[in-house]
């Protein structure tokens, strides 16, 4: 008996002020592929994103295999079976290279393979080491599609693959190759849920799910036979450790130098203001000196976490969250900045470096930046996240700074 890969159990989903669908039920077994069909605005992407755990559901439950992954009380669990995801947006930061992004995708299932034959099929092999920001729209879409399919090909066991408009923006050859790979994945026992308004994609799937009637129907025999797949070259895989949010964040911080251009500049400006004050050490108390020495570290943290805003690019952070890849952050680097600038401020104001103060500066900048990152991410579901004023909470983040100064000065 085929294994159930996806169970959507009587879910209700709202978006904005609309109820997109009510009592939606859908089951997909190993080896099946279902095309979501319906006009624009019927809820194809909404259902797919709900299945990926990216949307809140009002009623019902979504299970991947036997494991509930989305519940109406807001509880979400990392999916043990989600082996690939392509969103309508590409899910990749422009500062990643093609190879890095595909390896990150494969790390979600803990295996990797040689990328060369896959990239050749999509005519991307010469772009392997290029930044995604430097690709054309079509090329970037090809990378997003590969990132949705490759993890399933290298996964040790069959799973679920979710693809939103996978062939939109691709040339004819790449579209045919994508459909062929989809068929091959079904043959390997994976289940595919695909949203598309293109007939060729619908024809390539074993089932259709009509968003108007909420009925799953078996499709006519498929028109596209799985043929030209790299499986003929055999997919040899090797273990690959899952890339943590810290590793990813560190790589992106170094690549973009966001830690220096945001956190570093804030600390530098604060230090500059302190230097303008001149030799004030003799005129102020010990606790006031300490407060000034720690001020650059506090400023470094108060400007927030650059990864929180960079992660909005092409919904990169959503894509990572759905695949259980963790939240990208650069906390260790911001802590290092806090330590460095505390040491510099100590030299400038007291002529010495106190290791306790330096450690406190590192912790202060890390904690404050982390808190700002939480605030920045708390509005990611809003329609206009850039239009809300999370900066209003910034003044109160001076509290840990003031308490730390008070505690150290005793």
């Amino acid at each position: 008996m085929a294994k159930v890969m996806l169970e959507v159990d009587r879910i209700t989903v709202r978006r904005g002020m609309d109820v997109v669908f009510t009592d939606c039920t859908l089951g997909l077994q190993s080896g099946q592929s279902a095309a979501l069909v319906g006009p624009n605005g019927s809820g194809k992407s909404t259902l797919l994103e709900a299945c990926a755990g990216l949307l809140t559901i009002e009623q019902g439950e979504i299970r991947h295999g036997a494991a509930p992954v989305v519940r109406p009380d807001g509880a979400r669990r990392a999916s043990p079976l989600l082996h690939g995801l392509t969103l309508q947006r590409n899910g990749a930061m422009g500062s990643e290279t093609v190879e890095e992004h595909l390896r990150t995708a494969m790390s979600s299932v803990g295996r990797h393979t040689d990328l060369q034959p896959w990239l050749e099929r999509f005519n991307l092999d010469h772009r392997r080491h290029d930044l995604i920001a430097h690709l054309s729209e079509g090329q970037a879409r090809k990378v997003a599609v590969l990132a949705g399919l490759l993890p399933a090909f290298v996964a040790p066991s069959p799973g679920l693959v979710l693809l939103d408009e996978p062939t939109t923006g691709l040339d004819a050859k790449a579209r045919a190759q994508t459909l062929s790979w989809m068929g091959d994945l079904c043959q390997r026992g994976h289940a595919l849920l695909v949203s598309s308004h293109l007939d060729e994609v619908v024809d390539a799937c074993s089932h259709t799910f009509d968003l108007a009637s909420l009925q799953l129907k078996e499709a006519a025999p498929r028109a596209v036979e799985p043929a030209t797949t790299p499986t003929s070259m055999s997919v040899t895989t090797e273990p690959l450790a899952k890339e943590s949010g810290t590793q990813f964040g560190r790589r992106q911080h170094f690549r973009t130098q966001a830690w220096l251009s945001t956190n570093g500049v804030a600390a530098l400006l604060t230090l500059g203001v302190l230097l303008v004050l001149g030799d004030i050490g003799a005129r102020i108390s010990g606790s006031q000196t300490l407060a000034l020495v720690l001020a650059p570290a506090a400023a470094a943290g108060l400007v927030g976490e650059a990864m929180a805003s960079l992660g909005r690019e092409e919904r990169c952070e959503d894509w990572r969250l759905a695949l259980g890849l963790g939240t990208a952050h650069g906390t260790p680097m911001i802590a290092a900045l806090g330590a460095g600038f505390t040491a510099l401020a100590g030299i400038a104001l007291t002529g010495s470096v106190d290791i306790v103060w330096v450690t406190a500066g590192a912790g202060l900048s890390a904690v404050v930046a982390w808190a700002m990152g939480v605030l920045q991410r708390s509005v990611r579901r809003l329609a206009r996240p850039q239009a809300v004023f999370v900066g209003l909470f910034t003044p109160v983040l001076l509290l840990p700074y003031a308490l730390l100064v008070d505690w150290l000065a005793r």
Binding site: R14, R15, G16, M17, D18, V19, T56, E58, S378, V379, R381, L382, A383, R384, A387, V388, F389, V390, L392, F393, P395, V396, L398, L399, Y401, A402, L403, V405, D406
Partner: protein, 248 residues
Amino acid sequence: MTTTFKKVGPPQLTMKVRVGEALLLTGFLGITGTLLLALLWAPSVSLEAFESPAAQRIFYWHVPAAWAAFIAFGALFVGSAGWLFKRSERMWRLHVAGAEAGLATGLITVWSGCVWGAAEWGTPWDWSDVRLNTFGLLTLLAVYLVLGRASQPDGIETRDTFAGFGLYGFVLVPFTYIATRIWAIRHPGPVVATGEEGSINGDMGLVLLVGAVSFTVLIVGHLLTSMLITNSEQRLLHLQRRMDGGER
């Protein structure tokens, strides 16, 4: 083709509107009376105990406003929880009303506290004082919710996000209340519900009571009126969407 418009008169005042407005007016008169009593009748505090005894009179607005802010933030919490767990439109209206009332009373509390702090401590704010900062955070939360709601289209994502913040804010209410018991740095300790006999003089207590009752009446009137305004906004939105043909 001629389009005819139905002549629409002014909306009929419902009983609820009248109650809300009556409470608002009564509360406003009450807090004005409290201010007059505080300035003209209430006894002065000990000249030895305070740097600036005259400034202490602001306490008759400061403490009742803080009390009313806690009621408003309580309403915000109930409304937020009611929206998140029951998806109740009425509870969302309570959330909106609680945020607006919390903003009004929070600003009065913070402003009056800053005036008093400047006179008594020599500084309007102390970043190391936990109660000041947690109350400041509560007020900023209210500013955030009121401005944030104005900047976003109404929808489940907007409501869930802001209701989440509303729940978080309520955690700060008991925290703020006990802050001066745990970290007694600068802010004076509680003057009511301390369990100590004679914590404040009888006449002072009377003015404070008038202030507390007045601010409570004002805030209840504010909550009722604000909920009715939000209800009207929602009805208007509903009608607009029906005319757009987009209602599902």
